[in-house]
């Protein structure tokens, strides 16, 4: 037993170090770790090939794959530029309103679509529009990154951690709307308060000339109206099925893949291009993490941790929830939301097996990792990508700006959830 603990623990730590050091590609590092775990497991008898395969949550993989296919077709339609221009026009040229409106749009898009895609499509057009207006794009970019992270927490399909939690805990799309969506709306408002205070100087300067923006016909941004209508139709089916999920007993992955199928049949894009757009490295990263953490679970280490959690929970449930919230938040900021959530899933599951009520622990985990992701630029992929994009402007996001905005937003939101902890 002891050998299994030490070997599995060592492989886990080395793999996490490799993922976080940035020296290796995270997909390759996690894949290598997963393979090492299976080899060690077979040799020491704590893990088998069948068990490893069984650890991959295909409900999550299918959900990710399906949404990636839908997004791949959607992003080629020019829809994001259309939305961005429309928003800028509606802001009437006030940078304050622009920051809030672009933040809200990014948050709502991130609830339905993948955060990184949203960031990649919305930030460049934002910088361009700000340059046309002659205003500083920095507050808008920060607002988009932060709100993309926060918005994603609000729905089941907004963030990969939520997808994993839904699958492990058996929560439906509507459960997330009931439990997380209202909290996220308040968190969004709190984030804007922080952003407004930090950027108050930049956002009170009105642009000299708003006319160039009014002259843009945003409808021309849409390259393919027919495809866009079809994508929106497919997305409506997906959302309708998610809402009616419990009634029909449908799996998350099935709904997303069905939506992907509808998009592919209706739009009939070049399949090679869609396949290329699917983020295979992300899927490999997920599958590898599942296998890696599965090995840790089978070795028995996670059960020991789970027992400690249960002991704490039976002494003081509120304290246990608060600890989970802050540990999740800080770990997610430091090691990334996805690796931390994958590690916590089996722990909380086992806590449930030991007879402890886990419903609210899942929600606390989702809120912790979701809001924690803002803490550092490496907490989420949206942060990593957004930061590197901002480095190509004249006012890149530096460490101090991140600390003053996103990190404070994380703290404020975690404090807010702490105050609510009894009713979660």
């Amino acid at each position: 037993m002891m050998e299994a603990y030490i070997t599995a623990g060592a492989i886990f730590i080395v793999t996490f170090y490799a993922i976080l050091s940035g020296k290796f590609d995270r997909s390759i590092a996690s894949f290598a770790g997963a393979m090492a775990m299976v080899v060690a497991g077979i040799a020491l008898g704590f893990y088998s090939q069948e068990a490893a395969f069984g650890m991959i949550d295909f409900n999550v993989m299918g959900l990710l794959l399906g949404m990636m296919v839908i997004v791949s077709v959607c992003k080629k339609t020019g829809f994001f530029s259309y939305v961005a221009i429309k928003t800028v026009k509606a802001s009437g040229g006030s940078p304050l309103r622009l920051m809030i409106m672009l933040g809200c749009i990014t948050a709502f898009l991130s609830m339905a679509l993948d955060n990184v895609t949203t960031i990649i499509l919305i930030i460049p057009i934002t910088i361009l529009v700000c340059d046309i207006l002659g205003i500083n794009p920095l507050p808008m970019i920060v607002s988009e990154i932060v709100l993309s992270n926060i918005g994603g927490v609000g729905t089941m399909i907004g963030d990969p951690p939520n997808m994993m939690i839904a699958s492990s805990a058996g929560f439906s799309f509507n459960d997330f709307i009931v439990h997380l969506f209202p909290i996220v709306l308040v968190a969004m408002a709190l984030s804007f308060v922080v952003l407004i205070i930090v950027f108050k100087k930049d956002i009170c300067k009105r642009p000299k000339d708003f006319r160039p923006i009014l002259d843009i016909d945003e409808r021309q941004a849409i390259k393919d109206v027919k495809s866009l209508r079809k994508v929106i139709f497919a997305l409506s089916i997906v959302f309708a099925l998610f809402i009616a999920q419990k009634k029909f007993g449908l799996h998350h992955s099935f709904i997303a893949l069905l939506g992907a199928g509808v998009v592919l049949v209706l739009v009939r894009p070049k399949i090679e291009e869609v396949i290329k757009d699917v983020e295979w490295p992300v899927l490999i990263f997920f599958a590898s993490l599942f296998v890696l953490i599965g090995g840790l679970e089978h070795s028995g280490i996670l059960n020991i941790i789970a027992k400690q959690v249960v002991r704490l929970a039976s002494l003081n449930y509120t304290l246990a929830k608060v600890s989970l919230l802050w540990i999740s938040g800080i770990s997610s900021a430091l090691v990334g939301a996805i690796p931390f959530t994958t590690s916590m899933l089996p722990v909380i599951k086992y806590v449930g097996v030991l007879g402890q009520e886990t419903g609210s622990l899942w929600w606390v985990l989702a809120l912790g990792v979701g809001f924690g992701g803002c803490g550092t630029p490496i907490g989420t992929m949206a942060g990593v990508v957004g930061l590197s994009m901002s480095e190509r402007t004249r006012t890149p996001i530096d460490f101090k700006t991140w600390l003053k905005t996103a990190t404070i937003v994380m703290l404020v939101n975690l404090i807010f959830v702490t105050l609510l902890i009894k009713i979660i």
Partner: protein, 152 residues
């Protein structure tokens, strides 16, 4: 026929610290649109063309923007045409493309048009086996070889 039989030997080149205005002046005077950059020992470092001169004008992030065909009025960005801060401070080293296609002087001449088509380039710096710049071969040189039966 070899590349060295057709290439232009009397070529204009600049050093890494040549200023942007000097490069512009060379383009105007000699009516050329690209110049190789070499170090003190005549080793090829890179190439500056009109594309690189114009790149100074275009903000860094532009290649990330999905599409801007539908935007006609660039508003405040327009001011860049009138004055780029520090324009005169740019030197060949900052502007040049480093990762460039070269051709060996002893290579068969057919390789030149093949490279131009594959990499969509107009001129190829010619180097000797020591990687030192010995000439440049342009599309015009190739046309001359094609229509005048090579050596004129």
């Amino acid at each position: 026929m070899k590349v060295k039989d057709v290439m232009a030997r009397a070529i204009i080149k600049v050093g890494p610290s040549t200023g942007i205005r000097k490069i512009y002046d060379i383009f105007c005077e000699k009516n050329i649109s690209g110049v190789p950059v070499v170090d003190g020992e005549n080793r090829l470092l890179g190439m500056v063309t009109k594309t690189e001169l114009l790149e100074v004008l275009v903000p860094d992030y532009f290649d990330m923007v999905d599409e801007f065909l539908f935007i006609d009025d660039f508003g405040a960005l327009e001011e860049r045409l009138e004055s780029i801060p520090n324009l005169e401070l740019f030197i060949a080293e900052d502007l040049m493309v480093r990762d460039i296609i070269t051709i060996n002087e002893n290579a068969s001449l057919m390789k030149a048009p093949a490279l131009m088509n594959k990499y969509r380039i107009r001129r190829i710096p010619v180097v000797d086996p020591d990687k030192k710049l010995v000439g440049v071969i342009t599309r015009m040189d190739l046309c001359r070889a094609l229509f005048n039966g090579g050596l004129s």
